[in-house]
Symmetry: D2
């Protein structure tokens, strides 16, 4: 049991605060023999890092990661991989006015009552900055999954505030600052975000993440079900308030005769299951959607209290994402990859000897 | 790491199959000194058990639980509590036609490929029957939470298939076979379920579970966030495909100025957070919603394959819930209680010495 | 984290008390496909059970184990295996005089202060009776290790009280009631134990357990070293006060030029390492020795206090082993087997893909 | 489950190799509110560090630790504490001759077969250098235990090679380079070590570690017994081959009437239990002894094989401790402190509400 670790066999133990000297993690349980260098991790870190467009926080962080251990002559050794990212662009004085006050919708209040002490600078431990080491760890998982199984993990936005983003193609995602899989909505998103920023407010977002190529059989009946662990991982990302697998909340109004995905050797007929049945992967695409709440640090005045219990009006300065969901795409990918590698290792621990003659049903297509 | 256990400090290790001799669990970590007897567990088991109305499976199980250990002279001793429920009404022959075939939407296919062996009788390990021991364990958690903190955990249906169930009052829930918090929809639900059953099909459902009285401060920043552990627990219930905390997916279109719950010493102004901020309880009601897929075992013919890879048409006999979501109410309550007691114990492990002078914000009301 | 569980991937969760209705455990993580029936477990249970000679406790327990789950048509399914043993021969009134007093050297005093409640009957949870489910679980591990790797786990006594037992052959162990690997000392042991029993006192014992056939490579550098996990498992057996691997305490006066086991393709030249280097198995025999303290429940009067803090003289009635070490042989075997299967599964989780051309050094002989 | 972590609630996750850029750890679960700065950690790091006398390795490392997180304004926040120590004095070329050969008694051979890759430089992950982060983590535990309970953890040598070191006083330990609690043997130790070093050989050692002030009630019945976790922690220190609690192997020849420590309100009459009964602390001193094998890297020629399976003669250059046991004293103290804080937290998780009127028996004296 460790509050700050994720995973059972591929374990990531995270440390750091937004304005401390450094953030990082220990990645324990990576199989030996994986070619790995810092550039492998930097690509996803760069996708997540702040300051890349006017629509995200203007804090400037290179998020350069240093591999401290676990790699020898360019290859993982099986020993734990220490990862370090130095913080560089702290402006702690921006947070002077919230030293003694609690932002509505923020962890300020809960941290204070839990710990009796709080690093208020930049959100401290509750900052989305804590996701950078997870993205680095997730990049290791992604590489291993790709090399061993050809698995591809990718994500995109489905909605930003009021603007829905119909899925067009994965190729579009990297071509705009919104991780939008649709070129036609980019202008609307620009306008929407510009107006939002100007207003001093923030907005929520919808996000989708998918893994293709996952073989049938990963997961467990209960309670470390593949989908349960995915839900845990996604809900442990800052600001996530809802998670769906496959048909998700849509299944409430489905009939069993519609929801159950028919099988033939030509493939599954549909993917309402989202790639998981009974907690175990079906071989179809793993399909996950989530809802991300609006950033709680906004410039608009809100009613709250301070440490003395007195009523205060809080306006938040400092640099914040007006829609924290945007940068969550590489984070959600990382989290999904981390759950998958963990279950890949658990599966071969328990079932390495299993041989079945039954042919595997092809994935078919996901209608998402 | 244990596939079949739930929790970190209050750990429930589950065993059993639908048509095996018995099901049960070991509850490890229950604090000593809690008055406990079998009747304490039976109440919730009776709410969950099959055969109580024509709208659920007609399998007859008394679900009588035996406490095998951990209780001495009516009080818990701190030792693990062994719980045993004998299976009594198996009709394994009803499953003869699926020995070699895979039901669409069912775990048949994934179990087979994972383990190379499958107890097909009544769904084996993937049966909803496995939730009975969790309900018994959850009843222990509920009692401790109530006695130590006055916490109340309760649940109700929000929708069954196409029939929405507006919330009216908690008192209604026990008065109808649908766990519906609204007397006026009961007739519609009766008709809907009767027609569904006659059609041989099944339907999905929406469910809400709430905990009141949870103090501020339970949970962790990452990754054992209170909400992440709740998501994990709920998604580990059979057939759950989506989980929301507080505003859930509704937060996508909320602005930060709306979503962030304002605070005063009169109470929180709203509860969009669902009682959790930064992974830690706020002192407000914990509010969770989930989606439950339609039962995959239906009488209607579906296309599938068998173990030899040949195309087959599967019709499922045996006794099944046409809407497995109905009986999920006590299960979801149990799971929430189990997560809460686990975090209660973790909290006092880490923060037993913390004293804060800041007054606590009253819960306010949840607009759900 | 679970107080009452052992193992990481092959997890045994134990429950029960000496005079409660039943004892048992849940074995989670057993690979599917292992042929298993109750007779497989009963052999070792019978070796451990009480009442088999005048030199052990006269409590009569058949220790008949029931498999409640996880086995279908004679083969493990990968689901957790529930094991149940009903207690049959309790005589709780024998313990009437220690309801309020603490036996010197016994867990009475520590349980009372920890939990504020204590099942005093037969030692409750601290009874050696709790090892029966471990022996049953260990028998599963032994069978899997034997079938998959040809591993043999066996143990014997090295000393009972003042009587040393020089190793002669493994064949002798089953031929006398002392698990003595030497026929010539049996008469001395009979006399020694008869005199001890008559005196009302108890004695300590030395025990050795060995595993042959363990492949090179199981274990981890730190902290789940194979030897560290063995030490944990052995010290978690009731009454064990010391554990050695290989040369053990003898290594204090060894030089490096003597202790380090030389290698050639003819085999290791010695086995001072006891089969573990750097926390990882060498392919040699795993060699473990341990010390077991004398039973604390004796008929001789001892000074102590009662719950009120008053001085009392405690004499223990009830039925006890005058040398609890004797029956510890099958227990220690079970514990070693449980650690080995756990590391076998962890090893293939992390290193399933590793291929090395270097030839393996044969085990050579263990000079113990 | 994490190979490289220690503890359940106070969890230390270690990373690094002897000749990599840095070593360190993440300390998760430290209660908030503990005053902490780097100087608190440096004292024990300096006791462990190499190069402090001619009797230990001559590698020069300042072992300056940097606190990367979890401390704010001089006080722990409850967030994970990242600790970093840069390696400074690597001489990797010294290890050129063992790139392809396996040192007898060293982890070279087992790592190679396990992982298929090995960082040979300075022993890589198997180096005693890995204990530095544990000493730093242990210093946090020591400080908390001292401030909360007045617990003192201390260690000393009992034997170095052939030279026994009778216990005289704890005050002597810091006054000589051997952690010897006896001034009169220091000259003998100097001569013994000088001769040993000259011979190119190495020797084993005996070590004792003690904790005073531990309250009654910490630990669990099974399997996370306090003594079992201590045995695990000690055996996970490099080169430890044996662990004893209290009377240890001496209990084999004790009678029950001698071993069981009598109690009165004046104190325990003896401490054969070593402060633990039934896996739970008695309130007496925790007494642990261990055996440390001779360093396997010696200058004397030894027979071995290389990666191709060919016979080779290995002589080890590089800088090594002729008796690795000497510097193990602060390491063993750290490990004991880590186990104790972990159980302190577990105890209050489960038993925070327990109140017992029975007076506590004073510790009495430990005759060691």
């Amino acid at each position: 049991m460790s509050n700050s670790s994720l995973g059972h066999l591929f374990v990531v133990s995270n440390f750091g605060e937004s304005h401390g000297p450094a953030i990082g993690c220990v990645v324990d349980g990576c199989p030996p023999g994986l070619p790995l260098c810092e550039a492998d991790l930097q690509a996803d870190l760069d996708r997540r890092k702040p300051g890349t467009s006017r629509h995200v926080t203007q804090r400037q962080e290179g998020d350069q990661v240093e591999i401290l251990s676990g790699v020898f002559e360019g290859v993982t050794t099986g020993a734990p991989i220490g990862l370090l990212i130095r913080n560089q662009d702290q402006r702690s004085k921006d947070y002077g006015n919230i030293v003694d006050s609690f932002r509505p919708g923020h962890a300020d209040y809960t941290y204070w009552h839990k710990y009796g002490i709080r690093d208020h600078r930049g959100g401290g431990r509750s900052s989305a900055r804590m996701t950078a080491p997870m993205v680095a760890a997730g990049a290791i998982a992604k590489k291993w999954l790709a090399m061993q199984f050809g698995i591809v993990v990718r994500g995109c936005m489905t909605q930003i505030g009021d603007v829905e983003i119909p899925f067009q193609s994965w190729e579009e995602v990297a071509k705009n600052p919104f991780f939008a899989p649709n070129a036609t909505v980019v202008d609307s998103l620009e306008s929407y975000m510009d107006a939002l920023r100007k207003s001093g407010d923030s907005c929520g977002a919808g996000l989708r993440v998918q893994a293709t190529g996952v073989p049938v059989g990963w997961g467990s009946p209960l309670y470390d079900k593949l989908d349960a662990d995915i839900a845990h991982a996604m809900m442990s990302i800052n600001a996530v308030k809802g998670v769906e697998i496959g048909a998700g909340f849509g299944c409430i109004t489905q009939k069993g005769s519609e929801h159950g995905d028919e099988m033939s050797l030509d493939g599954f007929g549909s993917n309402h299951a989202g790639g998981v049945l009974g907690g175990i992967s079906t071989g179809q695409d793993i399909e996950v959607r989530m809802a991300i709440k609006p950033t709680s640090s906004i410039r608009l005045p809100r009613n709250s209290i301070n440490k003395a219990g007195e009523p205060v009006v809080v306006e938040t300065f400092g640099r914040h994402d007006p829609c924290v969901g945007i940068r969550a795409t590489p984070i959600a990918e990382a989290m999904l990859a981390l759950v998958l590698i963990d279950h890949a290792l658990m599966h071969r621990a328990q079932c390495a000897d299993v041989r079945v003659d039954t042919p595997v049903v092809p994935a078919g297509r996901s209608d998402y």
